[in-house]
Amino acid sequence: MIFRRPTFWLILLLAAVFIYLPVRAGDAALREDLILVAIAIILVSNLNLMIGYTGYVNFGHIVFYGLGGYVGLYLVTARGWRLQWAALAAGVVVSLFALLFGMGILRLRGAYFALATVGILVAVSAFVSNFNPFGRSDGLYLSFDAYQPLGGAMRALWVTYYLIVGVMALSLILSLAIKRSKFGLALFAIREDEDAAVVLGINATMYKAIVYSVSAFLPAVAGALMFYKNAMIDPSIAFEYMLSIEGIVMLMLGGQGTVIGAALGATLYERLRSYLLTSPKLSNFHLVIAGAMLLLVVLFASGGLIGWLYKFVPRSREVIE
């Protein structure tokens, strides 16, 4: 059972810390910092299902987040839906979208698949920029009234924060549950050798399409929550290309294929990025750091920080998954 796994309790502890710290201090600035970390963890741990578990590099993972934001905000503004239903609907719609595309592009392998994911990112971003219901390149804006059901803007910010932390915990628990399931075993087999996996009885095309779709769900929900909190969305912030690349850096840094590695890499990188972005001299320098970091990890520690830990403390594998 998953409850017996130390990693499960580690995830709950992490979520508790995320809730406790800003609430105790009543500190909105800290909350805003942590919300970025939580979003990074959500994106990276779901990206890990594709890259780390299945061995398929998705350069367009941010599409799920951005589209989720659009669907959510559209349902709230144009259709008057409540936030929770809009966010859930965003997850479902984007997952179905991913399933549809996944069945098409997951016949491709390796570099060709990676290229196709770049294509999807560019195409979706271009489509949304020209799509009237989504406000074309102006995007969508939320009026203050939309926060009323949650008890006003101030409370709404806190509520969305709790929800995002919840989605973060769910993302990590999902990663752990998949890792310890038959489904996960199939994904790992596909990662190791897809031809061998098929000969062993695994319907690789189906499993890949399913995991692609699953990896879209929680990022889309998070996108809906986050852009609701920000009260606006436009194509350039919804589909920030760089964030897609940085997600890969975070995953490699922490340790691809591990649950905790995804969280660790996302946290460290996001904190470093915030520091560099706010420091006046080093603004935008973070991309240089990101590039260097990716090179170093790929060249010298392909297992990332967690892989490095496993190497020196083999028994840690049992505790930190």
């Binding site: 038959k182 061998a196 000969v199 062993l200 695994i202």
Partner: protein
Amino acid sequence: MTQLLEVNGVSKRFGGLLAVSNVSFAIREREILGLIGPNGAGKTTLFNIVNGVYKPDTGKIAFAGDDITGAAPNKVVKLGLARTHQIVKPLNNMSVLENVTVGACFGRESLGLHAACEVADEVLKRVGLAERAKSPARSLTLAGKKRLEVARALAAKPKLLLLDEVLAGLTPTEVAQMIDLIFTIKESGVSVFMIEHVMQAIMKLSDRIVVLNFGQKLAEGSPIEVAGDPQVIEAYLGDEQIAEKLMEKN
């Protein structure tokens, strides 16, 4: 005895090369059928057609009463037809136990994770890899990897096992151990279809042998019949006395 696998007039063309040409044969239940022939004769291609990696251009394949012509490998396993690879394909960064568990999970019985683990444990004991269960598959020797191939296929609980050169590259002791293992597999009621270049082994193991040359079936019969066939001697064995020599050693 009833026919387990029936292959009827199967052909496969790659561009200008007719790799397998109008080949027909059958495998009975509880039988070991050997497949021999010179390099490039189309043996592995024939395996790939039987287990669905390639779709034949012409011909039909029936397995245990079902038409499996062109069925995907992952479906064929579920019906009870498992195979090993000539060039071993271990899931390198997974443990030996996990490798075999994959076989049990997605094989004929589609077991749950827990049950599959138990089956994998048993199979590993049977093939003599139990002590390496926790090691990563990449750390095995070639002989170990060949055993792992057999173990994964066995974990799928097949009715028919396709073995593609499981003896190649092994030391004489390892060959002897593998031959014993193949006999126990047969005794457990599983039919075997095997490609092999180690002549003494294939003569000893096979109930019948099919010989391929340039994609065509050259001969079929008992080991003695095949080894005495002038066409087979000319195309493959190269020595008129080989039949007697091989039989003496048995």
